[in-house]
Symmetry: C2
DNA sequence: GTGAAAGCGCTAACAG
DNA sequence: CTGTTAGCGCTTTCAC
């Protein structure tokens, strides 16, 4: 028969119950050695008996640290970010910190409010996937002594630590792979977000084309309109890429129809696949395509999708480690780390036609 | 030229700069009316000038509330939970609270540690997706006066508020739909987690079968082994269902091969689809199948998947609202809400064969 | 080894 | 209207 919400027990409750001073109780619980074994035992017993839990607020106030890190992220429904959240939370908790979560939905306004929240909450540091459109508010956070680690997208102006994915390389490899497979008239379908990840993928695409001696006209790089600011929307719907591709395939192509598509994420590939099927274009026979992200479904499509697997967990873990190092170390130069993604070759580019018996590894760094 | 981390400005800095008392400054900033307009203006100007940000820690300590809610969730990589996180964070922030995130990965141990963290952090309340295997630690949290709202899975023993999805109904409708389409030898592929959501879906399946006058033998309800405790794994890999289905389809079926599959999530359906394709079984010709969750890819499979769409955003929002109401109201009876999911009929059960021009709505309550 | 005193930054009482 | 006093729960001096 449980009682209603009793007032929470404090050090003083233990102290008075045992006829000790609050101070002694604090030290007994804090495992300092300036307490007799007997006292310590008594204190710990009483603490356990009344269910004492230290008040982090008070503790933080005097210690000047809340043992809390912030995580500012754009969209948890993006599988990459979902994994990032998991890996970051795990690491943060393992190091004895708490995690404050802020979601920005790609909105600068939300991000500005998020920085306010970080400042007020006096977090010890923050892992941030920046919206990138503006960053003055981040300067303010950094200047107030809260170390920042940017993840996935950088804000070089601030000279903070950064850990991301080598998107350019992933895109380069995907493109080169298509070219190696015989594709010549390639198209890149990209997100229309004004962020570096997209820009890097475009760069990779162009570089691969150039290295193969292929020209890239402007209409070979296409931005798919996305519902980026719809706060509860999924990262991207295949829908948008589907409609976009429908139009694209209908348009006149002076040099012949495209025979290869590089897409900026697996959802685009999904929509594209449908549009191609509707025009009776075979994949990979008529058109080869690559995705980006290796979402959990990619290997299980009817035409398994060649795609770029992102090391989400590694990125998250590295970010937390960088942050904690900086909390301890202080003023080193900012470190930037790009982790290399992995091209996973499947049937959509003529790879193994279906699942072989070799098990697809759903490794610790999937999606 | 930014300076290094200055000590953070406090009320006293403003007070001394203006020759006022700390108290007056506090009230001026707090919009109390017991301050002259002139003083308030001066204070606010100075606060803005030095970039004053109130210290939530100190504020919380005296006020007895940290204006923070906890969110304890099992697996952010499950698209349903990802959306839940988004919607909850949005609502929580809109109400002026912060959100502390704890991930349990379906582990009771993690959950117990999470409750410790909630107690220490003195959150005002928590939204919880419980692991359900044990719940004594939750009793402790509740007894210490922290209101809890269980989401998606209930712990009826504790008499807390709860908001979930009517999984039984979703499963009932999916099953009935298959039966209406002519399927008779149905199989249910379920998660092997010991949780009520799975149990509810099984109940719905059995009830639909019974209502149609069909018997259900034990081997018609199958649990797919999953990597549930793999901390960074995705919710479920299609892989497991694929292998499981391979075996299943190889086994002798005295009453003929199954002509319908109800699956507990869309990933299972994905694996199943491949296993069926390998045996040249046509969907929906030979076998009709349904998924559960309406993940973003479901509508875009080569055979678009009939599935049960879950109202994730609505669940999340409702949960936060219930929690905040209870924070204000105090002792009402616990309220339990089940939100109804929606069966989305597609080609895998003989629905519209492909995307029609009627736009698939990626509504605010998808996946 | 233990206690008394002071203070983290803020807000709530009460005076004036 | 404003200042003084007190205290949130805890930890860190510094005496004893």
């Amino acid at each position: 028969m449980t009682e209603g919400p009793r007032p929470r027990p404090t050090l003083r409750d233990i102290a008075t119950a045992l006829g000790l001073s609050v101070n002694t109780v604090s030290r007994a619980l804090g495992d300092k050695d300036s307490v007799s074994a007997a006292t310590r035992a008594a204190v710990q017993a009483e603490a356990a008996r009344i269910g004492y839990v230290p008040n982090t607020l008070a503790r933080s106030l005097v210690l000047g640290s809340a043992m809390t890190l912030g995580l500012v992220i754009t969209n948890p429904s993006n599988p990459f970010y979902a994994q990032l959240i998991s890996s970051i939370e795990l690491r943060v908790r393992a190091q004895g910190y708490s995690l404050l979560l802020l979601v920005t939905d790609e909105s600068v306004e939300n991000e500005q409010r998020a920085t306010e929240a970080l400042l007020r909450s006096a977090v010890d540091g923050a892992v941030v996937v920046p919206v990138q459109a503006e960053w003055d508010h981040w300067r303010r956070v950094r200047d107030s002594g809260i170390p920042l680690v940017f993840v996935n997208r950088d804000v070089p102006e601030l000279g903070c630590d950064m850990v991301g994915v080598d998107y350019e390389r992933g895109s380069y490899e995907a493109t080169s792979h298509l070219i190696a497979g015989g594709a010549r008239r390639l198209l890149l379908l990209e997100e229309d977000l004004p962020i570096t990840t997209t820009a890097d993928r475009i760069t990779g695409f162009r570089r691969a084309m150039a290295d193969a001696g292929l020209k890239v006209s402007d209409d070979q790089v296409q931005a798919v309109p996305t519902k980026r600011y719809d706060s509860l929307a999924l990262p991207w719907q295949p829908e948008e890429a589907y409609r976009f591709a429908q139009t694209l395939l209908t348009d006149a192509h002076p040099d012949g129809h495209p025979d290869g598509f590089v897409t900026g994420n697996d959802y685009f590939a999904l929509g594209l696949l449908r549009a191609l099927a509707e025009r009776d274009l075979a994949v990979p026979g008529d058109v080869a395509i690559t995705g980006y992200g290796d979402h959990p479904y990619a290997a299980y499509l009817q035409t398994p999708l060649t795609t770029v697997r992102l090391p989400a967990a590694e990125v998250g873990t590295t970010a937390v480690d960088l942050l904690l190092q900086r909390l301890r170390a202080g003023t080193e130069r900012p470190r930037k780390t790009l982790i290399r993604p992995e091209l996973v070759i499947r049937a959509s580019t003529g790879g193994p036609p279906a699942l072989t018996n070799r098990q697809e590894q759903p490794s610790s760094t999937p999606g």
